[in-house]
């Protein structure tokens, strides 16, 4: 799952010509550390939902990579 998430996040970054990341850690902040804005977060939810069938932002926004993992593991 972590590798797939890294792949999805890098696809979103690449699509906006932003710098890709090499690895993913739970404490990474989606906006501040990875540099995703609200358009990117929207795309991220669509791609995560297509892959894992979970809308991670459904009940409010998530801040970190770890929070996404938590929702996917529920």
């Amino acid at each position: 799952m972590e590798n797939k998430m890294l792949e999805i996040i890098n696809l979103v970054l690449d699509n906006r010509i932003k710098v890709k990341i090499e690895n993913l850690t739970p404490e990474m902040h989606l906006r501040n550390d990875i540099g995703l804005d609200s358009l990117d977060l929207a795309e991220l939810t669509v791609r995560i939902e297509a892959e894992f069938d979970v809308d991670v932002f459904e009940d409010g926004i998530v801040y970190t990579v770890g929070e996404i993992f938590e929702k996917l593991n529920r």
Partner: protein, 413 residues
């Protein structure tokens, strides 16, 4: 705490006296306003009102291509003109400035561009009466502190700006800041009023802090999810929630505390209902281009709950225009631009509902060959249309999905 405008992003803290000095020092005027600096936009609007000059608001992120299409120009320096101050009496105080602005000459024009129902954004022209019609005045209003949560060159932004300006309220920029900075600004400045899109509010969650200063939270467009509303009641325990109905041409029209809207006294003659569709009188819209019928069909369907006084609920909103986090996207405009890509045969642009932005733009593409990929389409579009209009999900298909009548489907993925 009394100031005109504060913007932590550009380190600006503008007192009223500074605004007055800057107006006094202004020697040149340019009717085109195309700045990413909120203060420059606000100051230019104020100068245009004081001198009765036309102002044309352009989004700072319009591409060169969009500027050319909309105005015929992509640079505007040649439009600088010397400001004739020979008969101009400079306001000496905040109060006299506001009084002068309230009596802005009705020849003054403000022009903005909004996503129309066909092709490229269309020009909407307002005069002072039509754009300030819904500004409210009262003694209580003079002690508000506004969090500014819209793009300053859009209709909603202008309406919030005028509401604050004409009541002499301080304005604090919140739009475009990170959620942590927004919450800090609300706390530090004791902000009392915010009007914003549901997306703006959603991005503030989760939040464990409390802000007692907040008195009113206004939102429009999609309805607040009840769970999100509950969380907001915890964060802003003293706030009243307000729901507004706004159109891109006329701005905010009706307000309500729930999904039942009623008309304010004196506006009954300005709306009409035909076949359950809401029609608004063109005097509310300014002049949207040159071809305006007396009654404008909003495309929004309503259910009348009570005839006198009129109250109603919205059943469905105009479906072609896609609301992406408060930005209106016309799928036809996006399709037209995508079709200028040499490797693309056909395209269908549609929306998919999304928990972050309300909707995201998606498209299906019929391509010449596989060398046309997702990234190359995005790079192509980046120089042509604003970022929020670019499809976030691109599917490559061998034929486009159409309805049984042969029309392109827009609300289906």
């Amino acid at each position: 705490m009394d100031f005109f405008f504060k913007d932590t992003e550009s380190c600006k803290h503008i007192k009223w006296s500074k605004l007055l000095d800057d107006i006094d020092d202004t020697l040149f005027y340019n009717k085109y306003c195309n700045s990413s600096d909120y203060y420059i936009v606000f100051r230019q609007i104020v100068v245009s009102m004081l001198f009765g000059k036309e102002i044309i608001l352009l989004d700072a992120d319009f591409t060169e291509n969009e500027l050319l299409k909309l105005t015929g120009f992509s640079v505007f320096e040649d439009f600088n003109e010397t400001l004739d101050k020979s008969n101009f009496l400079m306001p000496s105080s905040k109060e006299s400035l506001i009084e002068r602005l309230k009596s802005t000459n009705n020849n003054w024009k403000i022009i903005l561009f909004t996503s129309g129902t066909t092709g490229i954004p269309k020009e909407v022209v307002h005069n002072f009466e039509s754009i300030s019609r819904f500004v409210k005045f009262s003694k209580i209003k003079t002690i508000c502190i506004w969090g500014f949560a819209y793009n300053p060159t859009h209709m909603a932004g202008i309406q919030v700006f005028l509401q604050a300006l004409l009541n002499g309220n301080p304005i604090v920029r919140l739009f475009g800041l990170t959620s942590a900075k927004i919450l800090n600004e609300i706390e530090f400045n004791k902000i009392t009023h915010i009007s914003a899109t549901p997306t703006f509010y959603r991005l503030l969650l989760p939040c464990e802090r409390k802000f007692e200063s907040m008195q009113r939270i206004t939102s429009g467009g999609e309805k607040f999810n009840e769970r999100i509303k509950e969380q907001f009641l915890m964060i802003f325990p003293n706030a009243i929630f307000n729901n507004i109905y706004a159109s891109t041409e006329a701005g905010a029209l009706f307000a309500s505390h729930n999904d039942l809207f009623s008309l304010e006294f004196g506006f009954e003659h300005l709306i009409r209902i035909e076949n359950n569709e809401l029609l608004i009188h063109n005097s509310l819209m300014g002049k949207a281009g040159s071809k305006v019928q007396e009654w404008y069909k909003t495309g929004d369907l309503i259910e009348v709950v009570c005839d006198k006084p009129l109250s109603f609920r919205f059943i469905s909103r105009n479906s072609d225009i896609i609301n992406v986090g408060g930005y209106k996207v016309n799928p036809i405009e996006v399709e037209e631009i995508i079709l200028t890509h040499p490797g693309i045969i056909n395209v269908r642009v549609f929306s998919k509902s999304n928990s972050v932005l309300g909707n995201v733009i998606c498209c299906e593409v019929l391509r010449e060959n596989t060398s046309v990929d997702e990234l190359s389409i995005r790079v192509f579009l980046q120089s042509k249309i604003q970022e929020f209009k670019i499809p976030r999900i691109i599917h490559f298909v061998s034929e486009l999905t159409t309805t049984r009548t042969g029309k392109i489907k827009r609300n289906y993925i």
